[in-house]
């Protein structure tokens, strides 16, 4: 992964800062005054029971929903209602809880699409087949093949995305988001539906991505994965912050246990 220096850095330590973020759907309050900040280079976990607002938070972060209140700063710059393609251009990429690949494009083409945001040849060039366009298209394909190899599915490049196995589709989705050269990669339940071996490989892959300089924000239900991988964890419940901190501390936090298991005055159960 490219570890190029970011263009702006107001606070060198913080990559994403969220304050007072609220989002309601009619009468339902999905997010209420959510606040947290992510340090550059860390793996930040986001957990919480079903319906806690985790995916809504992702959707607001990536410009799919517009927040009702609150602010998001990425690398010091305020994100004021940007469109999804602007978010991608700024350096935030995401994957989806239910995989959303382009099912009828090949795996390679899926990744090539991700390069779109970092390349500039226009439609005129595409029609006239200028040398610049051809060179750029060749570069896109080369980079896409590298990324397929990086996530370990280089042999599947020419297959349609919908013909890949479930685990490979998850990998492909990660490769596609990496193709946008993100500095922050947001993964929505990357391990969902994976078996133990696949989870282990995923963990290695995520570790490698971080080592290459990309900050990770992960929603995940698999407690072992979260505890083993994340530097810090934020727990949401009913759209509110209920705890934040290191995984070990979070695991013992009574509010977290209550959110997941209900009140247990007799004896504390593990989350």
């Amino acid at each position: 992964m490219s570890a190029e220096a970011p263009a702006r850095r107001a606070d060198a330590g913080t990559i994403l800062e969220v304050e007072g973020l609220s989002k309601r759907f009619g009468g339902l309050v999905a997010l209420s005054e959510v606040h947290f900040s992510i340090r550059r280079g860390e793996i930040y976990g986001l957990i919480g029971p079903n319906g806690a607002g985790k995916t809504t938070l992702f959707n607001v972060l990536t410009g799919i929903y517009r927040q009702d209140a609150g602010s998001i700063r990425f690398e010091g710059a305020l994100l004021a209602h940007p469109t999804p393609d602007r978010i991608a251009a700024l350096g935030i990429a995401r994957t989806f809880q239910n995989i959303r690949l382009f099912a009828n494009l090949s795996a390679l083409e899926n990744v090539m699409i991700g390069r779109h945001v970092r390349t500039h040849a226009g439609v005129v060039g595409a029609i006239l087949r200028t040398r610049r366009t051809r060179a750029e298209e060749a570069a896109i394909e080369r980079r896409a093949r590298e990324l397929l190899a990086y996530v370990g599915i280089e042999k599947r490049g020419n297959e349609l995305a919908r013909h890949l196995s479930y685990g490979d589709q998850r990998r492909l989705e990660i490769a596609r988001s990496l193709a946008t050269d993100p500095r922050l990669l947001a993964l929505d339940e990357p391990a969902a539906g994976m078996n133990a071996t696949e989870k282990l490989e995923l963990r290695k892959l995520l570790g490698a991505i971080r080592a290459d300089g990309t900050t990770l924000l992960i929603i995940e239900h698999d407690v072992r994965l979260v505890m083993g991988l994340c530097d810090r964890v934020l727990v949401l419940d009913y759209g509110r912050n209920i705890a934040e901190g290191e995984p070990r501390a979070i695991q013992r936090d009574p509010r977290v246990i209550e959110a997941y298991l209900g009140k247990a005055p007799e004896r504390g159960a593990g989350a």
Binding site: T83, H116, V123, T133
Partner: protein, 332 residues
């Protein structure tokens, strides 16, 4: 046999024109699931623009081919602008509206364009100046053998080149991948950095450019133009797109060519089979009609416009997704 071959040649020529127009419908449908009913009018405007240029240059002494090419190169940008403006003004504000709203808007746009053309080019049928000398190439040795004209050759060659170019554009280039990605999931395409609005505009503009060339081909082939010509032509090309499976480029080509063949063969043969004297041999009650006017048919070649719609109805009944169309479930 000669008649059959001749009708096949005519049908192929017509089919190529339908295919090029059908591509415009199917591209737009594929990317935003909108039936752009104004596309037929874009073709008409292409035809009319080329007509104006050709008339203006007819006496200039330029070689006829150059005049037609100049007419085309005027029609293409005009139609591209029209296509862009239609999308920007009429469809984009309704992108997230219920599907009925843009559909009705499309019909409205089509009426507006017809009447703009009426103001500019009058309501008369316009005769294209016959600047290209028609040359016939006989495919047999006798004078009654099937023949193909130079205009037909030009129409078929130009269509094949454009269709091949479009397929290359969509399947081999960066903007083509962006188009296919947008058609499958505009939201995720946006997250990948694809400017979805630009891709949609581009789709309209390319479809309109193809339509412009198709308009010039229709004008040169039939030699006439009229401000309402886009309606029937558009409807037939739309039927062709549905026949092939709307949203599918190869389907539009196949559907267009089949539609042309059906229409030509229908015009050539259904008249013979429903000739009153022919029917008299099998059915009672036709003897008087045969005696009075032995040449008349129940369904003569003037019924040719009906066949496209019979095909449309049959396809919608028996294979709603079209010949090459995928099940709608695959889109999700």
């Amino acid at each position: 046999m000669d008649t059959f071959l001749q009708q096949v040649i005519n049908g192929l020529t017509l089919g190529c024109v339908y295919a090029v127009v059908a591509l415009g419908y199917t591209m737009v449908y594929g990317i935003i699931q909108l039936i752009n009913f104004a596309h037929g009018e874009v073709v008409m405007i292409g035809c009319m623009t080329a007509f104006s240029v050709i008339v203006a240059l007819a006496g200039s002494g330029l070689p006829p081919i150059a005049i037609v090419l100049l007419g085309t190169s005027a029609a293409v940008p005009v139609c591209m602008i029209v296509g862009y403006v239609i999308e920007r003004v009429a469809y984009r504000p309704l992108r997230n509206a219920p599907r009925l709203a843009p559909l009705i808007t499309a019909i409205g746009v089509s009426i507006v364009l017809q009447h703009l053309a009426l103001l500019v080019w009058s309501r008369n049928i316009i005769a294209f100046p016959q600047i290209i000398q028609l040359k016939l190439f006989r495919l047999g040795h006798s004078d009654t053998s099937a023949a193909i004209s130079n205009v037909q050759v030009a129409v078929i060659v130009a269509s094949v080149v454009m269709m091949a170019g479009l397929l290359l554009l969509v399947h081999r280039t960066k903007v083509g991948i962006a188009m296919r990605a947008t058609s499958q999931n505009p939201l995720v395409a946006g997250l990948m950095g694809v400017d979805v609005n630009r891709v949609i505009s581009f789709t309209f503009v390319v479809g309109a450019a193809l339509g412009a060339v198709a308009g010039v081909m229709v004008g040169t082939y039939y030699g006439i133009a009229h401000y309402q010509m886009g309606f029937l032509l558009g409807l037939k090309a739309f039927s062709a797109a549905v026949l092939g499976g709307i949203g599918n480029l190869a389907g539009a080509v196949l559907g267009g060519i089949l539609m042309g063949l059906i229409e030509a063969l229908g015009a050539g043969y259904v008249g013979d089979f429903t000739n009153v004297c022919f029917l008299d041999k099998f059915l009672p009650g036709f003897s008087n009609a045969c005696f009075a006017s032995p040449e008349s048919s129940l369904f003569g070649s003037n019924y040719k416009d009906v066949y496209a719609f019979i095909v449309l109805i049959l396809v919608l009944v028996f294979r709603p997704s079209g010949l090459l169309g995928e099940r709608v479930g695959d889109r999700a």
